[in-house]
């Protein structure tokens, strides 16, 4: 009995912290706190909203300047604009607060918890760039359903660090009151976005002075979330311009060297910055390739040789690779739900691959470019935004298209899942955010991929075409044969040819005689 009680108490002692930890992890996963939802960029929300969807609200970007992809904390979605960082009410689309920002490339922010338990928003700003037509810093965007003036909370003006130098800075603010906590200048320009894992912030950059040319070097940084101090910094041999994935104690970086051109895949110990394994170099014709996604002991990425690769996260060895139809945009990543890897190539090919061996479970071709949207898995559907301004949902079991939104001006980019809402960034002339919610009155589609051969349809079309072309051509042939004589039987042809030869030879004759 004592032994039983002892065992029970041991179980309780060992189990409770794990339950608490598991609960915390689950809580973390419900928030879409960074690019693709989590530090590993899995893009997976098992309880995410399900299609069909309808538009809940749209938020135009101020003065038409684009917004970054959103991250979500509770009922607030955070997005980065050229001149401000905006907190948007997920339910209404109204701007709840905004923080002035000193320009710079738009990149996705991240939200983490510091050692004091405070929620911290981290984003990148600067160096400032002159944007034609940009509105004054005080301008506030409004959402379309109920356009009301946004309330800009009192927040500290950004320091001039980003303005005066030619480098980007990492800025941290308290999410609760939007007060700046720290600011750390980098050595180069950053557009990688921010990744937060535990108490560390990971960000990449590229060398200064390479705004107009493709840089061939860059660094990856690990900063303390508490005070912004640099924990470690490493050169990566190329520009680190895609989001850094962190999982299993490693930080994974995909860097690009346009001079060579090559893509470098590097892994660093997340705590110390020591290289976990020797960097891999993919010598490909272009540096197009996705951001890394980690999970299940593997690192997944798509590259310019049209291959999806799974690398062993512990040593970088290739586990499998799978050929797809096209290359991958650097603005995308893959999604991973524990059993399958989901990808979208530039040409609109969507794929689900078995995580064990890379075997293709299904593929669907949307025949539209996918430029800035990484696939996300929301429950039983894969969502992806297209360059024609629509979003599609694919059933991850069947690979059939179950929903598509109407085509709208401006592409749909990065997608964030917030409870029952899908928030996507829109580009182009109508740049801003667009939010979808489940539509109980909507209908689901069940369209197979156009790449699936339908024998009856295809053969009947061919047969009709063949009869038409054959019949018309043969009729023309008969008519022309009657008019001009059948081809080949015409000795005239030979006569004409002989005449031509004679004429050709006769042309030389007088000259020959003259020469003689």
């Amino acid at each position: 009995m004592r032994a039983l009680l002892a065992s029970a108490s041991m179980l309780v002692l060992l189990g409770v912290p794990q339950l608490v930890q598991g609960s915390a992890t689950a809580q973390e996963s419900t928030a879409w706190s960074q690019y693709q939802g989590d530090p590993a960029h899995t893009g997976y929300a098992p309880d995410g909203p399900q299609p069909p969807f309808r538009v809940r609200w749209t938020l135009p970007a101020p003065a038409g300047i684009a917004l970054s992809g959103a991250v979500v904390e509770g009922n607030i979605a955070v997005t980065v604009g050229e001149e401000a960082v905006y907190g948007v009410d997920v339910a209404t689309g109204q701007v709840a607060w905004q923080i002035p920002r000193a320009g710079g490339r738009l990149s996705i922010p991240a939200i983490g918890t510091d050692t004091a338990g405070k929620r911290v928003l981290v984003y990148v700003e600067g160096p400032a760039t002159a944007v034609p037509g940009a509105s004054s810093p005080g301008a506030s965007p409004t959402s379309s359903p109920s356009p009301t003036e946004a309330t800009a909370s009192p927040s500290p003006s950004p320091s001039t660090a980003g303005d005066e130098t030619n480098v980007s800075s990492v800025v941290a603010v308290a999410l609760g009151n939007q007060k700046e906590l720290w600011r750390t200048p980098l050595e180069g320009l950053s557009r990688s976005g921010v990744t937060i894992e535990g108490g560390s912030v990971y960000v990449g950059d590229q060398e200064v002075g390479a705004q107009d040319v493709e840089a061939s070097s860059g660094r990856v940084y690990a900063l303390s979330l508490d005070d912004g101090s640099i924990i470690w910094k490493q050169e990566v041999g190329g520009r680190a311009d895609t989001s850094i994935a962190v999982a299993d104690g490693n930080a994974y970086v995909v860097a690009r060297d346009s001079q060579t051109p090559r893509v470098i895949i590097a892994a660093f110990d997340a705590a110390t910055g020591e290289r976990s394994w020797s960097p891999l170099s993919l010598q490909v014709s272009s540096t197009a390739g996705s951001a890394p996604t980690a999970g299940g002991g593997s690192l997944f990425l798509g590259s310019a040789d049209r291959r999806l690769r799974a690398l062993d996260a512990s040593n970088g060895a290739e586990r499998w690779s799978a050929l797809v139809l096209s290359v991958f945009s650097p603005a995308t990543a893959l999604a991973f739900d524990g059993s399958s890897v989901y990808a979208a190539d530039v040409s609109g090919g969507l794929y689900a691959l078995d995580v064990a061996d890379g075997a293709r479970r299904w593929s669907f071709h949307v025949n539209e470019t996918v430029l800035r949207s990484a696939p996300v898995v929301s429950g039983s559907s894969m969502l992806v935004g297209l360059a024609n301004g629509s979003m599609v949902a694919i059933d991850i079991q069947t690979g059939h298209l179950v929903w598509r939104s109407p085509v709208t001006p401006g592409l749909i980019g990065s997608i964030a899942l917030a409870g029952d809402t899908v928030i996507a960034v829109k580009g182009g002339r109508n740049a801003g955010l667009i939010a979808f919610e489940h539509d109980p009155d909507g209908t689901l589609l069940d369209e197979p991929s156009p790449t699936r051969f339908e024998a009856a349809t295809s053969l009947s079309r061919w047969l009709i075409a063949a009869v038409l072309v054959f019949g018309i051509a043969l009729a023309l042939g008969v008519l022309a044969g009657r008019r001009f004589g059948r081809s080949g039987e015409t000795d005239d042809a030979e006569v004409d040819v002989d005449e031509d030869v004679d004429a050709y030879e006769d042309e030389d004759a007088p000259d020959d005689e003259e020469d003689r």
Binding site: D305, R306, R307, L323, L325, S347, G348, G349, S363, H365, N367, P450, T451, R452, F453, E454, T457, S458, L459, R461, W462, I464, A465, A466, L468, V469, F470, A473, L474, L476, G477, V478, A480, G481, F484, R486, S487, G488, E489, A493, D496, V497, D498, D500, V501, A503, Y504, E505, E507, D508, A509, D511, D512, D515
Partner: protein, 327 residues
């Protein structure tokens, strides 16, 4: 026309020796009358039929032959089914060039192979098989087209003559493949502008020099090397506007046919009806150009020199000087 009346296939007609000598001496003594390039673009008296007449006869030969028409409409379907069977996913509009003349057809093979298998050993195997199948098909087509132009019908004799041309057509396809590989390696060094022009020029040049070889092999039953040499000599004959013919084909086969193909960028396994109509019509057009080339060869065949002109000049020069000495 009955079988009894069917003419026997024409034997190669060697060019008459004295006339050849006259022409050579003419070339030697009055070089200013035929400046370099006069045979490429400039018109003038030529043993080669004009472009319009060649195309008209080529088209008439194809549309008046149910067998050739059937090949033009069936081959794209078979190619598409075969590609789907081995896992191809791509644009069916590519099929507009499935029956194109090399080296455009070589581009089709390279594109589908690369899309299907990426670059690697399997890609080379695919290309090898594709070139073999294409060589067999094109050799048979050459035999059938020549017989249609000669007799207005297709018989087993035409097929047999086509079979004898397989080595030549295979050599032509291999040369086209090598040409494209070389142009992909060399011309990018020249930069985007000049490199592109050079690449297009090399493709037109490939068709220019190699285009007559299958017909020459069918008609004259010579080996691959000799047929290709004769093809080149025929293309270089003055006044033929043969470069114009080849450039016209490239313009039609690439920007026009590919650019106008319905659903050009759509990836699907099920081409639309309009897509199929366009693909099949394009295939008929390619066969018409193939037949036009054959018609031009038949026209120019008697005037094609037996030996390379420069070599003959070098051999004749001492003889000519001796003759002048006697005079």
């Amino acid at each position: 026309m009955t079988a009894k009346k069917r003419r026997r296939p024409q034997r190669p007609r060697p060019a008459p020796e004295p006339e050849t000598t006259q022409v050579e001496e003419q070339e030697e003594q009055t070089p200013q009358r035929r400046p370099f390039g006069s045979g490429l673009l400039a018109g003038g008296p030529s043993p080669m039929p004009p472009i319009g007449r060649s195309l008209g006869n080529g088209l008439l030969a194809v549309v008046s032959s149910p067998i050739l028409l059937a090949i033009a409409v069936v081959v794209p379907l078979l190619a598409w089914l075969a590609l789907l069977a081995i896992g191809f996913e791509g644009r069916p509009s590519l099929l507009v060039d499935v029956l194109a003349l090399p080296p455009i057809s070589t581009y089709f093979d390279l594109g589908t192979g690369e899309s299907l298998l990426s670059l690697g050993p399997a890609f080379l195997v695919f290309i090898g098989i594709a070139l073999l199948i294409r060589s067999l098909l094109y050799a048979l087509l050459a035999g059938m087209i020549v017989e249609t132009l000669e007799d207005g019908r297709i018989s087993r004799w035409g097929l047999l003559r086509g079979v004898s041309a397989i080595p030549t057509v295979l050599a032509v396809n291999l040369l086209s493949f090598s040409l494209i590989l070389a142009s992909n390696v060399i011309f990018p060094i020249l930069g985007p502008g000049i490199g592109l022009l050079a690449a297009i020029g090399s493709l037109v040049g490939g068709l220019f020099f190699l285009g007559f070889a299958p017909t020459a092999a069918v008609r004259q039953q010579r080996g691959a090397v000799e047929s290709i040499r004769r093809s080149g000599r025929a293309a270089m004959l003055p006044g033929s506007r043969h470069v114009l013919f080849c450039a016209l084909y490239f313009f039609v086969a690439l920007p026009v046919v590919v650019g106008l193909a319905p659903g050009g960028s759509q990836v699907t396994a099920n081409p639309t009806l309009s897509g199929w109509i366009f693909i099949l019509a394009a295939s008929v057009l390619h066969l018409a150009f193939m037949a036009a080339l054959a018609f031009r060869w038949i026209g120019v065949e008697p005037a094609v020199p037996e030996e390379p002109v420069r070599r003959r000049q070098a051999q004749r020069r001492p003889l000519a000087s001796r003759q002048r000495g006697r005079r």
